[in-house]
Subunit: 145 residues, 2 copies
DNA sequence: ATTATTTATATCGCGAACGATTTAATGCGT
DNA sequence: ACGCATTAAATCGTTCGCGATATAAATAAT
């Protein structure tokens, strides 16, 4: 039995699990808005800055366009975003929020931060814990990216 | 602009990203073994304790059986595991390692810990950092589970 | 200018995740 | 023993994630 191959010693397994569990915790709130977690991420990117090419969105989310394109197509079908050809660069597809997509920001703001706060409350993470966790993960992300 | 909805303030997004990036870092090593990351997780569970019902494996991996069953079916097709009906409880499907599945442990041991160690090296995480990260994530996992 | 190369998206195929439903075996109450 | 709820897996449908490839526009090279 190799200690290095024990599941309990795997950082990656922990991160994979916690990522799924937190996403699941989001689900009931996102359901009310009729969106999925990856769609929520796209919306957050667009709420910060509307009308971006597919590439910029993908880059911001550290995803490939072959993941983001179908995601955006589904979001367009739901009426959350509009996709249009770039005028200066004809290769680009510019993605912008529809009225419905914009309106979701207020709805998200009203239920998600408070709801998720409550959900994470029993974890008893101090702001300091939180900041530490954040910075260590950022280190890993930046080195692997 | 709501600060709470900024992508950069989202713990979940970080965890989701880092999880994907580390999984991607595993990929070249796992490719040599002809397996995927979730398949590697299943193998680790079985290397620790061979011949387990689907439910126990799923529980250990914090996954549902509707994720694990197809995963195991693919692994059976590849000759990594064998699936057989439980004798005492006819509802169970017992999963056990084939010769090939057992042999992969040595191969994994030979390339993965060292290879991934190198890959994670530039992150400069001390053993202490690592332990802290681990315990905080465990706290979250246990509360959400 | 014409061709070659790079860049931006899109398409395709497969393996996960997961909610919802189904099937089959077990256990429980009467 | 009988019916009924419970439990273990499996199946189904949809969305992701991603390697590989295709398409088309822009840019560089000759």
């Amino acid at each position: 039995m190799h200690e290095e191959l024990r599941l309990d010693n795997q950082l990656c397994f922990r991160l994979y699990t916690v990522s799924r569990l937190i996403t699941q915790a989001y689900t009931p709130f996102l359901c009310q808005l009729g969106i999925t977690y990856p769609q929520y991420l796209v919306l957050m990117v667009l709420w910060e800055q509307d009308s971006q090419p597919v590439n910029d969105i993908a880059h911001r989310l550290v995803l490939e366009t072959n993941t983001v394109t179908p995601l955006l197509q589904r979001m367009e079908k739901q009426g959350l975003v509009k996709r249009s050809k770039g005028k200066e660069d004809g290769r680009q597809t510019l993605v912008s929020l529809t009225k419905k997509g914009k309106e979701l920001e207020e709805q998200a703001f009203n239920c998600i931060p408070s709801g998720m706060g409550q959900r994470m409350d029993p974890c008893q993470l101090s702001l300091e814990d939180y900041a530490q966790l954040r910075s260590k993960i950022d280190t890993i992300i930046n080195k692997l990216k």
